[in-house]
Symmetry: C2
Subunit: 216 residues, 2 copies
């Protein structure tokens, strides 16, 4: 029985790693679509964001079945409850990346980013991609300690999010309202993506160290 349970837990972990890989790939495509006005990549990102929802739903159902059959206690129970929360965060990350792709799609063949903000969004996209890769690593090998790096990168994303507003609200900003709306929302989506990575990292730390470090 115990052996079956360990196999089941391992499968839950593998599926979380798989979904985290999907969310990261969607962000990679969405960020490139947004920066280079690439509608093909935008469409790919949107299709994958739909698929991630189904995967997360099916994983949640499996976790609930395992809870019902195995009635785990203490640490095993916490792993399964955390899996449900992590799957919800990963799904949101896919949806947020999808929203970025959607903006690129709407503005195609034009660009959604005025030149003054291009470097900022390039860095934000790069950071979100790195954060996504760190989540994959963390879920694959829960012993690694990436919490500090993730925290630092999230703070940098927050800084860039504020920088977007500084630029948009400065006297130099002469763009029309369409650009202002697009960059406001895109910046918010990038920032929320990073927040979810911090949440997942807290949950993984909690499971390995027992110290709950809620960041949200």
């Amino acid at each position: 029985m115990r052996e079956v349970f360990q196999t089941e837990l391992k499968e839950v972990q593998d599926r979380l790693v798989d979904i985290a890989g999907d969310a990261t790939r969607i962000m990679e495509q969405a960020s490139a679509a947004f920066i280079n006005s690439d509608v093909t990549l935008a469409d790919q990102a949107l299709a994958s964001a739909d698929a991630i929802h189904e995967k997360a739903l099916s994983l949640d159902e499996s976790v609930i079945r395992i809870l019902a059959r195995q009635s785990p206690a203490s640490r095993d129970l916490r792993i399964l409850v955390s899996a449900l929360r992590i799957s919800a965060s990963l799904e949101r990350m896919g949806a947020l990346a999808g929203h970025i792709a959607q903006i690129a799609r709407f503005r195609y063949p034009g660009s959604a980013i005025p030149a003054a903000l291009l470097p900022t969004f390039q860095e934000m996209g790069k950071l979100d991609l790195e954060l996504g890769k760190k989540v994959v690593k963390l879920l694959k090998n829960t012993d690694v300690d990436l919490a500090k790096e993730i925290q630092a990168e999230d703070e940098r994303v927050d800084e860039l999010h504020r920088k977007v507003f500084d630029i948009v609200l400065s006297d130099e900003w002469k763009e029309n309202a369409m650009y202002t709306v697009d960059v406001t929302l895109a910046s918010r989506y990038h920032e929320r993506f990073a927040d979810h990575v911090v949440d997942i990292s807290s949950k993984v730390s909690y499971l390995t160290t027992g110290a709950w470090n809620e960041s949200e």
Copy 2:
């Protein structure tokens, strides 16, 4: 043992109702603060949004303890898993309402809403408040069927969200970028608040009818 468990389940339900009441009150304060540039209400909303986080965390810990001690199966297990998800949604609703209060705070003593958008945000705030009240009702008495009303109100919030963009992107919009940023984000927060209500309603329907009707 069974009786203890029923008492515990009832307590979980009561605490969800309490947190839903808080989230609704925060939206009421935030919406009034945003519409009337009332900084006192904005501060109250922000303080309560912090408190809701602690309440949700403490409820989640109780639910995990019940899961560990009682090892419930089938319907009882699903109720507890749903309680964790509903508490996460309620917490986000409080945070989103807090963000709206924050915008009002930043712009005080000025208004964050240009006259052209005042009626739209009044209606959005009113709908979110009604949706919050319906969640309280639904969690208090899971037998009532409010799913259709909630669906219709959420659709109306989505319409108003699109209307905000129509107005902002029209030739008549002459406001500066600060207003554009504020109304874009405020509209998004109102829309996400309503989305969470729909999610909670699907989870409650699922528990009472067994038909999972995931909307997100």
